[in-house]
Amino acid sequence: AESQYDYEVYHSLEEIQKWMFEMNRTQPDLVALFSIGKSYEGRPLYVLQLGKGNQKKAVWIDCGVHAREWIGPAFCQWFVKEAINSYQYDSAMTKLLNQLSFYIMPVFNVDGYHYSWNTDRFWRKTRSKIRKFHCRGVDANRNWKVKWCDEGASSHPCDDTYCGPFPESEPEVKAVAKFLRKNKKRIKAYISIHAYAQMLLYPYSYKYAMIPNFNCVESAASSAVKALYSAYGVRYRYGPASTTLYVSSGSSIDWAYKNGIPYAFAFELRDTGYFGFLLPESLIKPTCTETTRAVKAIASGLLKKC
């Protein structure tokens, strides 16, 4: 049952889906489970809605866009557990769950994640088949309809940063884009969880220009990394993705921002390369604890005026 679920180990796709059903069954007041579509290989794309009823403002969090970044899905599960366990005990979290809805997608790239558990631990992309090519998969963070397939993306199907045959070619990307477009008036923050580099990134990725609401976003990022640091003293760099990490086109944060979501962030969680994608399970707890503080800081900022 949910109470025995171990949040400090990595779980297979099947275990995570069972966990989502269990949360839906045992937490009817705070959790609602629904599917926004099917993946390329036909798996459901589940989203958990977390919060007290249908609030007017919402936050979207997706994890597992890149299959090998296992700490992402671990964080999404951890955040849901923390939110439920601290509701009515932690005033900040109670306020957030009473005034905001959180849409949490624990595994965005379900096909790739399943493949990384069963075949290739370092698989990154989706598992779509490109006609005429033996290579499979598209980089789900290069497939969004924003400056698609420009700098920092590849048009070759065998490359890890392959942008796909056309924008939103991936059913997973199309389903999330459709949901975000439909709810863009309510969704005030888009957060995508990746690894590794210990960074908090915001638009733009595809160009060096400054976003119009730079001061508000910069201030939110600054308070988020301070909150993160307060847990265990781990420093995260933060700034526009193009200058802080590298230029990349077709990314989800640029698409979310250009589609009207004023706060769009990508977290690159621990570490900076000592373990890389093989972050040990012993580091799940500190990594998720510090990141929860950062996400709470961002969400709290949405309830204030900037």
Partner: protein
């Protein structure tokens, strides 16, 4: 073994090109060998003084070390045996399940 032991002897190297010449030499080396880019995600994103983390298959390890040494490009071994690290990361549960 997990993943049919396919990562035995594979290594993850951290390579830091310190000037444009080394960047070009590194792109040349990595263009010849099929490596898995961990950071950044592709050769086109390699910049001087920024670390490059690559997963190298065991049969390419020796050649990679030789080429980097020939080009005097500084590097370090982040993970010396990927299979062992994978077994450590989640293997304990798999072995318990198997038992």
């Amino acid at each position: 073994f997990l993943y049919n032991n396919r990562y035995v002897g594979d290594q993850v190297l951290r390579i830091i090109p310190t000037n444009e010449q080394e960047v070009q030499a590194l792109k040349g080396i990595l263009g010849l060998m099929k490596v898995d880019f961990w950071q950044p995600n592709s050769a086109s994103l390699i910049h001087q003084n920024r670390s490059v983390d690559v997963h190298v298959k065991n049969h390419d390890i020796r050649g990679m070390h030789e080429r980097l040494t020939d080009e005097k490009i500084q590097y370090q071994v982040l993970i010396s045996n990927l299979q062992k690290e994978i077994e450590k990361q989640t293997g304990h549960r798999f072995s318990r399940k198997r038992r």
